[in-house]
């Protein structure tokens, strides 16, 4: 069956110029990664940790595709904005509920580009002395990297483009697109979102 085109998504895809990674490609890759994790963490009851909110879609699909027992937990960090900057530096706004000392922790992230946020979170988690701490990222933007972070599992390398869908937003929109798409330039030119 051929992949869907933008027309198949109707209003949901308004503002999207092009599908970069199709729904089918995404699901295939997520299942491949889940297979690798299931093999590597067999018998270790891993704790999958994600940072809200972008990772929700990936985390849900990944967890369902695992063939081993696993637990999940989430944290949230303050995002950079002119307003948050007045409050100082990045901080946790929601902490983990499950203690991670001695646990095999797999940090699951939707996208890594600069590495700034992930670097802060990993520093924070390492202090809690997990048995292991590795990173699984679905979308990698290596050209934007400022902080070098080893990635144990990686879904796709993305080009230097601002992409939306599968949890990735532009001004809180487009998260629920089931594919990864590029926005039309005029979307960025409108400050009204």
């Amino acid at each position: 069956m051929p992949n869907k085109t933008l027309d198949n998504y109707g209003e949901l895809a308004a503002g999207v110029r092009e599908i970069l990674i199709s729904e089918e490609e995404l699901q295939r890759r997520v299942h491949d990664i889940a297979g690798e994790i299931s093999r590597d963490y067999a018998g270790r009851n891993p704790l999958l940790v994600g940072v809200l909110k972008g990772v929700l879609f990936f985390m849900a699909d990944l967890l369902q595709a695992l063939t081993i027992p696993a637990e999940i937990d989430f944290i949230a960090v303050s995002s950079y904005s002119p307003e948050s900057r007045q409050q100082g530096v990045v901080r946790l706004v929601k902490d983990l509920e499950i203690p991670i000392d001695g646990r095999h922790v797999l940090f699951v992230e939707d996208v890594i580009d600069t590495g700034l946020t992930l670097n802060y979170i990993l520093r924070n988690l390492r202090i809690r002395q997990p048995a292991s701490l590795d990173v699984c990222v679905l979308f990698n933007k290596p050209n934007h990297r400022l902080i070098d972070i080893p990635l144990k599992y990686k879904g796709f390398d993305l080009p230097d483009r601002f992409v939306v869908g599968y949890g990735l937003d532009y001004r809180e929109r487009y998260r629920n697109l089931p594919f990864i798409g590029l926005l039309k330039p005029e979307v960025f030119q409108s400050n009204k979102g």
Partner: protein, 142 residues
């Protein structure tokens, strides 16, 4: 041949472009150490050994040992900067340097919620202000 670092005062740098200041604030927010324009790399010399062209990256991240150059110039206007960057890599292959181009700067601004700045980059020629052009001219003159 890496020239000696020139002293910089990171506590009160005078940024040449608003995008540089925004970038510095993002680094501060995430606790990343940075220095603004700490080093100038000579690129060309005249027959007397006097530098006639040089390049000074905007930022240096000491913990990452990484230089960062930002540009908001449209691609058709950034040929000269790209050439300089290539020359830096040829002459100083041991340094790590990363260029954030216009579109990448826009994306970075969007990512960190700086929508007005992003729209500004997208909607204008985004040439650097006169002050910076003067700075570059001074660098070119050695």
């Amino acid at each position: 041949m890496i020239p000696s670092p020139e002293p910089a005062d990171p506590s009160s740098p005078r940024f040449s472009h608003p995008a540089e200041e925004a970038f510095a604030k993002i680094l501060d927010f995430y606790g990343i150490a940075w220095v603004y324009e700490p080093r100038t790399f000579p690129l060309e010399w005249d027959e007397h050994g006097v530098t006639v062209e040089a390049f000074r990256p905007d930022f240096y991240l000491p913990d990452q040992d990484l230089y960062i150059e930002l540009t908001t110039l449209r691609p058709e206007l950034s040929t000269r900067k790209n050439r300089k960057l290539r020359r830096v890599k040829e002459l100083y292959p041991e340094i790590n340097i990363k260029l954030f181009k216009r579109r990448e700067m826009r994306d970075l601004m969007v990512k960190f919620g700086l929508y007005d700045q992003a729209a500004g980059i997208e909607g204008t020629q985004a040439q650097k202000p006169e002050g910076l052009l003067r700075k570059n001219a001074q660098q070119n003159a050695g």
